[in-house]
């Protein structure tokens, strides 16, 4: 797909512009098998068969089934499926709660991804330029900890931290004379509180992507930029961005899709409340499907979400390809 050189020494985190370059192209060794002679094309295909079987069983069939269900009125505890044509899809357009959830999701997605990318890039650059900082590896490891925690655990963890009567934040606020804040039950705070946890969890991912992007910049080009006395801004614009943009944009894409689907955090922290102030579209879908057992309608909603997620991906890829072809 891409012609952008990406470092192959990616098991090591990049240690900064001054570090010894280790991304020299390795000459590919000829494998014994290819050297020994021609193999039937069926051999390669048969190796793919198990993966393909799993993909079809676990992905294709459920997706097709879901699409089919979208055309039926089917609530698991109310009776058998009844064909309703496109009713479920047209209902989506008049479902105010769902549109409310869409709107909140969009605001959440833009805010979360915006903050995470900005913070992640800033911290990534800091770490990139601090190869000699003592405890760098430990700091990075600790920083990545929120990202590797299960969201359900993070949600519970923060729910306790935010708790107005027992939580540590309100305890500290109380010590400085501030009245307790109901972070998760005050409509003015709940959204921001969930957003903060998402930023806490996923900024490390963007740090990682930034470091990977920076690591993909050929050191020869950086050295040339140094010799040419490019300032920091020029260095980013003419050297780093062209080389690292694919990885960074991939990070943005993954985070966008993930933020769009946010469900687990909301479920553990607020159940979408207070009222519906943190009910994002993923959680609204979850409630329709697994609380109300409204499988027909939720399948239609899921299909619309799938199309939106595909659209996001396509737009990103299109933008990337467009800028590459220029």
């Amino acid at each position: 797909m891409t012609t952008t050189p990406i470092s192959t020494s990616d098991t090591e985190l990049p240690a900064g512009p001054g570090a010894t370059a280790s991304n020299k192209t390795k000459s590919p060794k000829k494998s014994k098998s290819s050297a020994s002679g021609h193999r039937s094309p069926w051999f390669g295909r048969s190796l793919l068969a198990p993966v393909l079987a799993f993909f079809i069983a676990l992905n294709v069939i459920p997706t097709v089934w879901m699409i089919g269900l979208g055309f039926y009125k089917y609530t698991l505890n109310l009776g058998d499926p009844r064909y309703v044509g496109t009713d479920n899809f047209t209902d989506i357009f008049t479902d105010q709660e769902l549109w409310g959830a869409f709107s909140r999701t969009l605001i959440f997605m833009v805010s979360a991804v915006g903050i995470e990318v900005s913070l992640g890039a800033a911290i990534g650059f800091l770490f990139w330029g601090s190869s000699k900082m003592p405890g760098r590896r430990l700091a990075l490891t600790l920083m990545f900890a929120p990202m590797v925690m299960a969201p359900i655990a993070s949600g519970q963890f923060w729910k306790l931290i935010y708790e107005p009567s027992f939580g540590v934040i309100n305890d500290l606020l109380g010590k400085v004379g501030v009245d307790p804040i109901s972070f998760l039950t005050d409509p003015d705070w709940a959204f921001r509180a969930v957003l903060f946890v998402d930023v806490w969890m996923w900024t490390p991912f963007m740090i990682l992507m930034t470091l990977a992007a920076l690591g993909s910049v050929p050191s020869a080009e950086l050295e040339a930029a140094e010799i040419d006395r490019l300032n920091s801004f020029e260095r980013i614009r003419y050297v780093i961005w062209p080389n690292g943009k694919f990885i960074l944009m991939l990070g943005v894409l993954l985070r966008t899709i993930d933020a769009f689907k946010t469900t687990d955090l909301v479920q553990t922290m607020t159940e979408g409340g207070p009222g519906d102030s943190t009910e994002f579209v993923g959680f609204a879908l979850f409630r329709q499907a697994f609380n109300s057992l409204n499988l027909g309608y939720s399948s239609a909603v899921a299909l619309v979400l799938l199309i939106i997620a595909i659209a996001f991906t396509s737009i990103y890829l299109y933008v990337l390809n467009l800028s590459r072809s220029k």
Partner: protein, 528 residues
């Protein structure tokens, strides 16, 4: 053209090709989806539509075979067999788990009496998830869970889909299992569907009612006694007898007196949470004072749930947050236990069976007074209360094979024996039969038993909906109530009730439960 440019062009044209192919495949997928959906409908259409065995004739007891599995085991038909039973229970709720904990005792009984070996495995989930966890399996005819705990609201959904055995049939064949309940509330709440039909589906497992837990040590404290008398000109009550006739308005003085945020202590805690039925059950006693929340006969909600009186009741209930710690909008059973046992609140309106956990593992032992739910003044001037019913019945999976069905019946026979019930009560369970609740010493058996008995009395509590649509109905009101509780100044309580009533009646209309249309003036109501 350079090699790279050439490559890029080829790539782009490939992408265009791929897009067309994807489009074609997408279309194929859509078509296949619809077709598969048809298969789905065809596959499932043979299995009784809504109504299920609800309309079946009662079992003809005289013609029931001696080997009918609903009779349970006899001396010969299960000899030497091994049966693993699946129990679905509520997670984190000891009375529900007790059946699994006590199962080895049953296994011993079964081995001695019928000669078979039995073990148990459990499926567990919280109140808000258990039905959802069971429904997919049951809809495919699975007997993974042979005996299941059901919340009372789920009875209709289980029964309409023909997923459970009708208790009425079991009782007809096994009259010894048909025990005399303490009050008709047991039958109405845990057994009957449809309401008033007389057809029973559930087997009572754990009854529960609402009450108020208070800190007795704080009430009896001399300084508090003096200060209260000075402030309100009356004695601070300390006994069950003094509290029992008191109205919520009178209780307010006590909540206000003990509401000392500066000391980290608040007057009370009530449930306003969005999860499951927290808000609904806590609020319903306030609403029941002036009427029901729907009309079970006509299926109407509008005109019942959204009366002006109910709006006043809702406003009053939410206004009581002023005596509670911040964050009460999220209060559910667990938070209430934490607040009370961590001594953050003087009192907590709670399910009485939760008294098991309200002493904080003995930390507050002897320091708690449990009383019935505070009373209200009814429109006729009488002082009384109608609390919400809690608790759960058992239901038996209709897809059980003969062996599992026999063991299920054997288990129920053992479970309702005096010996097993005594062990259940020791494990935190509460009785529901007339002889056990009326037994001498029951009221003193647990510090909350007397209040529980009072609230289980005839017409002292009420359950709501046993409709298959319960999940959707509940979700609507939980969200709207919680929204109001979180920001009462932003909404008119009458509009909140109007909104809930309209949305619920729409669901009931869609499902044929009612044929009463939504009035035009309410049709487009929103809560924004």
């Amino acid at each position: 053209m350079t090699a790279t440019e050439n490559e890029a062009t080829t790539e782009e044209s490939n992408e265009t090709l791929v897009s067309r192919r994807s489009l074609f495949r997408g279309g194929l997928g859509l078509g296949a989806g619809v077709a598969l959906g048809g298969v789905l409908a065809a596959c499932s259409s043979g299995d009784g539509s809504a109504g299920g065995s609800n309309g079946d004739d009662p079992i003809d007891v005289d013609n029931v075979d001696a080997e009918d599995p609903l009779r349970g085991s006899n001396e010969t038909n299960m000899q030497g067999k091994t049966v693993e039973m699946g129990f679905a229970v509520l997670a984190g709720w000891p009375p529900s788990q007790a059946a699994v904990e006590l199962y080895p005792e049953f296994a011993k009984y079964a081995k001695e009496k019928f000669g078979y070996t039995t073990t148990v495995k459990k499926t567990e989930a919280g109140f808000d998830k258990l039905f959802q966890q069971l429904a997919p399996g049951l809809s495919s005819g699975s007997q993974e869970n042979n005996i299941m705990i059901s919340d009372s609201q789920w009875l209709g959904a289980f029964a309409e889909r023909d997923w459970i055995v009708r208790a009425e049939d079991v009782y007809a064949i096994n009259p010894d299992l048909d025990l005399d309940p303490y009050s008709s509330l047991v039958r109405k709440t845990y057994q009957e569907y449809p309401d008033g039909s007389g057809t029973r589906w559930g087997f009572p497992q754990m009854p529960d009612t609402q009450g108020l837990f208070m800190r007795l040590d704080m009430l009896e404290d001399e300084a508090n006694q003096t200060a209260f008398e000075e402030q309100y000109g009356k004695k601070l009550p300390t006994t069950y007898e003094e509290f029992e006739p008191m109205t919520m308005v009178e209780y307010e003085e006590i909540f206000e007196f003990f509401n000392r945020p500066e000391e980290g202590m608040h007057g009370t805690a009530m449930m306003y949470g969005k999860d499951y039925d927290s808000f609904s059950c806590a609020y319903h006693p306030y609403a029941y004072t002036t009427g029901d929340i729907w009309n079970p006969e006509t299926g109407e909600v509008i005109g019942f749930l959204n009366t002006d009186d109910h709006a006043t009741a809702l406003e009053y209930f939410v206004s009581l947050q002023k005596y509670q710690p911040p964050g009460s909008e999220a209060n559910g059973i667990g938070t209430m236990i934490d607040l009370f046992t961590e001594e953050k609140v003087f009192s907590a309106m709670q399910w009485l069976a939760v008294g098991l956990a309200m002493d904080g593992d003995g930390k507050l032992e002897g320091k708690i007074l449990a009383v019935p739910h505070p009373k209200f003044e009814f429109p006729d001037g009488s002082i009384d209360v109608i609390g919400a019913m809690g608790g759960q019945p058992w239901v038996i999976n209709k897809f059980n094979d003969d062996d599992h069905m026999r063991v299920a019946i054997d288990f129920l026979r053992w479970w309702y024996s005096d010996d097993a019930q005594a062990k259940f009560e020791d494990a935190g369970g509460l009785p529901w039969t007339a002889d056990k609740v009326n037994a001498e010493g029951f009221e003193d058996s647990k510090y909350y038993a007397r209040a529980f008995k009072e609230m289980l009395g005839e017409d002292k509590s009420r359950d709501f909906w046993h409709l298959p649509q319960y999940a959707e109905l509940l979700a609507i009101q939980q969200e709207a109530y919680n929204k109001y509780a979180a920001d009462p100044d932003a909404f008119d309580p009458k509009r909140v009730l109007d909104f809930i009533a309209v949305k619920q009646q729409e669901i009931l209309l869609d499902n044929g439960v009612t044929d009463v249309a939504i009035p035009d003036e309410l049709k487009d109501i929103t809560l924004e």
